[in-house]
């Protein structure tokens, strides 16, 4: 089985800064104040002033979509950062250590891999208030388990390679081995994994907003907008379709940007990534492998 990753993993990586700049720009400037109610301008169709029209309170739909997008991206960025830091640290530490310490770290990662992070997020955001920061921290702090297990599998396999053993025999320290020989072969797989999962994070945030737990109902989150506008689905379907389309588009773009061309097909066709993950998981006795593929967020 080939463990070689296609070069396409990083081909569209330039999209990441583009998305970040777009999100920052959307947060900084909107054509209209997103919460400004104008009852004289209810349910307007698209025009030059209101490019996507207005909602049932006369608020500009495009402005609300922009703010919602920025908030969603904040969550995604927070989660990506937390998963990368926690997952890499725990995974690498477990791979370097032996015996009880390694077992304890792995048990901890397994615990966070099976912890239902959406459920945790539902409970925590409704208790401590809903917002991109709360949601991002909860999803990030409870969902890093699979990432750590993946990192552990990759690092363990890397450390077992003959050339790493040779470098160790030459007197290289563990830290140097990690930096020079292990890290370079693992980061692309980690990145692909993020690419396949970050879209789910955006959807989980939208689901939380849709449920509206502890949220200020008028907030311009995509999920909250879909909840609010579902009442007008029959007369003004565009109100409902736009936030949904924006969310789906974001998921696909994230997937393309970070997973590469292959990303769009990874779990389905057992591309190199999927087999790498599953192979490692098999080797490391991680029985809930497909949990890595999906972490089982049933129907959000």
């Amino acid at each position: 089985m080939s463990h070689h990753l296609p070069a396409t993993v990083t081909r569209h990586l330039w999209l990441v800064p583009v998305i970040a700049v777009c999100a920052a720009a959307a947060a900084a400037w909107q054509p209209h104040p997103p919460e400004a109610i104008d009852l004289g301008a209810r349910h307007l169709g698209p025009s030059l002033s209101h490019v996507l029209g207005t909602d049932h309170l006369g608020r500009d739909l495009l402005s609300r979509l922009m703010i919602g997008g920025a908030r969603t991206m904040l969550v995604v960025a927070l989660v990506a950062g937390l998963w990368t830091i926690l997952g890499t640290c725990v995974g690498l530490c477990a791979a370097c250590s032996r015996g009880l310490a390694a077992a304890a770290l792995l048990r901890m990662a397994e615990f966070f891999a099976v912890l239902p992070s959406l459920l945790a997020a539902i409970v925590v955001t409704s208790l401590f208030g809903f917002g991109p920061l709360t949601a991002g921290y909860v999803l990030g702090l409870t969902g890093w388990g699979p990432f750590a297990l993946l990192s552990f599998g990759l690092a363990r396999r890397g450390l077992g390679e003959p050339y790493v053993l040779a470098a160790r025999a030459l007197g290289g320290s563990t830290a140097a081995l990690m930096r020079r020989h292990v890290w370079p072969v693992m980061w692309e797989t980690q990145l692909s994994y993020l690419g396949t999962k970050l879209g789910r994070v955006a959807i989980a945030y939208a689901a939380l907003a849709f449920l509206g737990l502890g949220a200020d109902a008028g907030r311009a989150d995509w999920g909250a907008m879909m909840f609010e506008y579902r009442l007008f689905a029959l007369d003004h379907p565009w109100l409902l379709l736009w936030p949904g389309a924006a969310l789906i588009a974001l998921c696909v773009v994230l997937r393309l940007a970070i997973g590469g061309d292959n990303g769009a097909r990874v779990p389905a066709t057992r591309g190199d990534l999927a087999s790498t993950i599953e192979h490692d998981a098999e080797q490391e006795r991680l029985k809930f492998t497909p949990g890595i593929a999906r972490a089982g967020e049933t129907a959000i």
Binding site: M1, V114, P116, L118, L119, I122, V123, V124, S126, L127, F128, T196, G199, R200, I203, A206, A207, F210, L211, L213, G214, G223, M226, R230, A233, L234, P237, L240, G244, L247, I248, C251, V252, R255, A264, R265, P267, A268, T269, R270, A274, S275, E278, K287, F288, T289, P290, G291, A293, R294, A295, G296, E297, T298, A299, I300
Partner: protein, 310 residues
């Protein structure tokens, strides 16, 4: 026997840890349920009223005492009464649990029934129609939010075609769309895993040897292929099934179904301590059950497991 005893011991330990965590998280909540209840019922917010409610619910005791008393009651089947409805929580859960399980497990059953034939068809003709359909479903499961899909299906089937009454029909009629949503989001990932298992078998040496010995492909697949692929499917199913409690929250709310997740969401806003604690315990107990069932299934499917761990 020793296996069962060890597993049971682990399950009890896990449940106890979960009860501690549930208690701690919920008591760390920033608002007081007595205040919320008084406000919700338009009662004067006096210190005496708050203190009376605290006394009634046993919240005036020390935290250790409260936890110990709740644990004893919980184990003996008295899950207390809800602050919000005044009804016994145990009865409410027994009433609602079947709804959640029907949606979640029914959806998964439909998903498997469709995923297995789809994956077999896809692996018979790589890059054929079924293979692309499988890809699309997998990507769809990752990119399309279920609540959005639910709104779309309600609009299509209840309004445009008027085939179903998802809010006012008989129970069976109300269940169709929720089960369909869970199934649609489950088919892609499950089929992908099964498909991956099949193509791995197809490349394996033992499969080629069996073919080389002159076995015809169908028999060889039945004897050597499906069991291996089914192991992957069982693992995928474990992940999906352990999320049945909690994962159906959005669907229950969109369709207004009285499942336990809907009860949780309603109770969270009122800081209904005992409901949230009971819910978390049920969720953990369910995950433990699923993990045990998975272990038994693995033992049965994978002969290597039996050799390695007698």
């Amino acid at each position: 026997m020793s296996w069962a005893a060890r597993e049971a011991g682990r399950a009890v330990l896990l449940l106890w840890l979960a009860s501690l965590a549930a208690f701690a998280v919920i008591r760390a909540m920033p608002a007081d349920p007595a205040v919320i209840t008084l406000l919700a019922f338009n009662q004067p917010l006096t210190d005496e009223a708050v203190a009376a409610l605290h006394r009634q619910w046993g919240l005036d005791r020390s935290l250790v005492e409260q936890y110990a008393m709740w644990l004893v009651d919980f184990v003996s089947g008295d899950w207390r009464r809800s602050f919000r409805t005044g009804e016994p929580i145990f009865a409410e859960f027994m009433h609602r649990l079947p709804v959640s399980l029907t949606i979640g497990l029914g959806g998964l059953a439909v998903a498997i029934a469709l995923a297995v034939p789809l994956a077999e068809a896809a692996s018979r003709r790589p890059h054929g129609f079924c293979d692309h359909l499988l890809d699309a479903l997998t990507l769809g499961a990752q990119a399309v939010p279920a609540f959005w899909l639910a709104s779309l299906l309600i609009w299509l089937f209840a309004v445009e075609f008027a085939w179903l009454r998802p809010f006012s029909g008989a129970t069976v009629e109300r269940m169709i769309l929720p089960i369909a949503i869970v199934a649609i989001t489950g088919i892609g990932p499950l089929a992908a895993v099964y498909r991956a298992g099949l193509s791995e078998v197809g490349r394996s040496h033992y499969f080629m040897v069996a073919l080389g010995k002159g076995g015809d492909p169908e028999t060889t697949l039945a004897r050597h292929g499906r069991r291996y692929a089914a192991m992957g499917l069982a693992a995928a199913l474990t992940a999906e099934a352990s999320w049945v409690i909690g994962g159906t929250a959005v669907v229950e709310i969109v369709f207004g179904l009285p499942g336990i997740s809907q009860f949780l969401v309603e109770s969270l806003a009122m800081r209904d301590y005992f409901v949230v604690q009971a819910y978390l315990m049920v969720a953990v107990a369910w995950m433990i059950c699923v993990a045990m069932a998975a272990q038994i299934a693995r033992h049965w499917l994978d002969p290597r497991e039996r050799v390695a761990a007698p």
